[in-house]
């Protein structure tokens, strides 16, 4: 086995025993990037020199007591990294070098993680395909004519292509789970507030959440352990006890009550995706769980309420890009307002402008009640759907996306169709719940995953069931052919 193919826990064992060094592991990953990056294009910035230096430093300490010590990680390019360019895949932030680390980065650095680079994404995390990057689209390692999903497409593709050992992404409406699903890896969106958002470039603040994208469920628990916890720098961070999530890595689903929402299995969902969900339900039942159909009646409304709330918050958050304190400034302008307008018009891409416009419209005089307030009320109804379901069930099982990875360019001119690809993931963000995407099968050589949705702060149950399923389907060592 090549070193770059290792999981965190496998690499950790070898590092601890002294059988490999962090520098060897990091070099192996860098060589892999050099070999396959032309085909995948997962990275905006590769931090080669610094990563090698850091790996040597870790080797010198000989301290591999923590799981992440000396292990290369890829970071979505909307998470601030001190002295390392953070662009959000936008022209407006093309030259931005953060003067501070996001809290999650600080935590990774405390654990001696080695940051290998910053991954491509849809501009400001707005999109479902990583085609909206201002720089270049990332390709799906399983089929390079297809999208890796979005907006954390670079992170998911980098993990699937073994261009890192694990990655961090962010999820506002499915941006960790959907690309993890298309790329055949594990992606977890933690409960809102579980992980600090300090240093995450804000898209829609009441929905955004940072989470891990990993090669297997064990790694997912390990990364969550390292990044979660209350943070005084984030007023939306939840002050709940920090669990050891590795204790949930046991095979046991006996007595578990699982609901399968019929609204997630209806029209528009491909047959192979439905059959992956139903086979998973059968498998769970065989192992002692109880599954039955349930209803989450406001699912369709959740999508449209999301596309009011998220752009409204985005229009406010993105007001800070005015060409004064950071980012790119337009070259010729007449006065201050002209400077703002030219900078923003030249700096933002089409999808970002569309969402700023939609959000500004929804918040403008005369429309606030009709759109924004209405959407926030619908959000309450969506949350109540889940509250009711969780009175009876421990877990919800559903598809992650309506289809497997679609072709590059297939939906790029049709935002409505693109928005529909997030229909199974968006309600989870609206309710702030944790959810995980794990691969369970293949259809026409493309990965198909399932989504498990848990109660608030119920990541432990999600990890336990995912771990059990992962062992049962045994897909973990299947790799895309890139050589």
């Amino acid at each position: 086995m090549k070193l770059y193919e290792l999981t965190i826990h496998e690499a950790h064992e070898l590092l601890k025993k002294g059988e490999i060094s962090s520098k060897e592991l990091t070099l192996s990953v860098i060589e892999r990037i050099q070999k396959v990056e032309d085909k995948v294009r997962a990275y905006v910035t590769i931090n080669e020199e610094e990563a090698l230096k850091n790996s040597e430093e870790v080797d010198n300490t000989r301290d591999f007591s923590t799981f992440l010590s000396g292990i290369p990680v890829a970071i979505k390019d909307n998470i601030c990294t001190y002295n390392l360019r953070t662009t959000c895949s936008s022209k407006i932030l093309e030259n931005f070098i953060p003067p501070y680390d996001a809290t999650v980065i600080k935590k990774l650095k405390t654990n001696n993680a080695v940051i290998i680079g910053k991954t491509n994404m849809d501009e400001f995390a707005m999109g479902s395909s990583t085609e909206n990057s201002a720089f270049f689209p990332t390709r799906n390692p399983w089929d390079q004519t297809r999208v890796p999903g979005g907006s954390s497409g670079g992170s998911a593709a980098a993990v699937a292509a073994d261009e890192c050992i694990y990655a961090l992404g962010s999820d506002t409406g499915g941006s960790i789970r959907q690309p993890a699903n298309y790329c055949g890896v594990v992606g977890l969106k933690p409960t809102y507030g579980r992980v600090s958002r300090y240093g995450l470039v804000a898209y829609a603040s009441s929905l955004d959440q940072i989470g891990p994208i990993t090669k297997d469920v064990t790694d997912c628990a390990i990364v969550l352990n390292s990044i979660c916890g209350w943070d005084e720098k984030d007023s939306t961070s939840a002050d709940v006890p920090v669990d050891d999530f590795t204790k949930y890595l046991v095979e046991d689903v006996r007595g578990l009550r699982v609901g399968i929402p019929k609204e997630y299995m209806g029209e528009g969902i491909d047959e192979d995706v439905k059959s992956a969900v139903l086979s998973t339900a059968k498998l769970l039942e065989k192992m002692g769980a109880f599954c039955e159909e349930i209803s989450l009646p406001h699912t369709e409304y959740a999508l449209w309420a999301y596309y009011i709330i998220a752009p409204a918050e985005a229009s406010s958050n993105l007001a800070r890009y005015d060409g004064i304190r950071y980012g790119v400034r337009a070259k010729n302008y007449d006065d201050l307002i002209d400077l703002y307008k030219k900078t923003r018009s030249e700096g933002f891409g089409a999808e970002v402008k569309r969402r700023i416009m939609l959000g500004t419209y929804a918040l403008s005089a005369g429309y606030y009640d009709a759109y924004y307030l209405k959407a926030q009320k619908v959000r309450t109804l969506v949350k109540r759907d889940f509250d009711r379901a969780f009175e009876k069930y421990d877990l919800i099982l559903s598809p992650v996306a309506p289809s497997t990875a679609f072709k590059i360019g297939e939906m790029v001119d049709d935002p409505l169709k693109m928005y529909m690809s997030d229909v199974c993931t968006i309600p989870v963000n609206m309710a702030g719940l944790p959810a995980i995407s794990i691969p369970v099968s293949f259809s026409n050589a493309l990965p198909v995953g399932i989504q498990l949705i848990g109660k608030a702060f119920g990541e432990g149950t999600l990890l336990k069931v995912s771990y059990t399923l992962e062992k049962a389907v045994n897909l973990e060592k299947r790799k895309p052919q890139l050589d």
Partner: protein, 96 residues
């Protein structure tokens, strides 16, 4: 809800964006079709439903009022597109 070119111009001004004629036309069409779908929300009676702006109870975070070191000026201005003598440089805003 049909969005007119005039509405697009008004909203673009609020959002501090310039749009050319083609972009205005495209924006009017795409926003209209997106908002048409959003009108589905009016099917729901939400008169007695409270809005949810955050799913967890959030409150202001206060820290002790102690003097701490701030970022050095050079770090603050490092990303500035234009600066002079320790300040961000902006176009003149005071009219003659």
């Amino acid at each position: 809800m049909k969005i007119s070119k005039e509405t697009v111009e008004h909203v673009a001004n609020l959002a501090r964006l310039y749009l050319n004629d083609e972009e205005k036309k495209e924006m009017a069409e795409k926003l209209s079709s997106i908002l048409e779908y959003m009108d589905k929300l009016s099917e729901l009676d939400t008169s007695n439903v409270p809005p949810t702006s955050h799913v967890i109870p959030i409150h202001n975070v206060f820290r002790e009022d102690v003097v701490m070191e701030s970022l050095p000026l050079s770090e603050v201005l490092k990303n500035a597109p234009d600066s002079e003598k320790g300040f961000f440089k902006v176009p003149r805003v005071i009219e003659e």
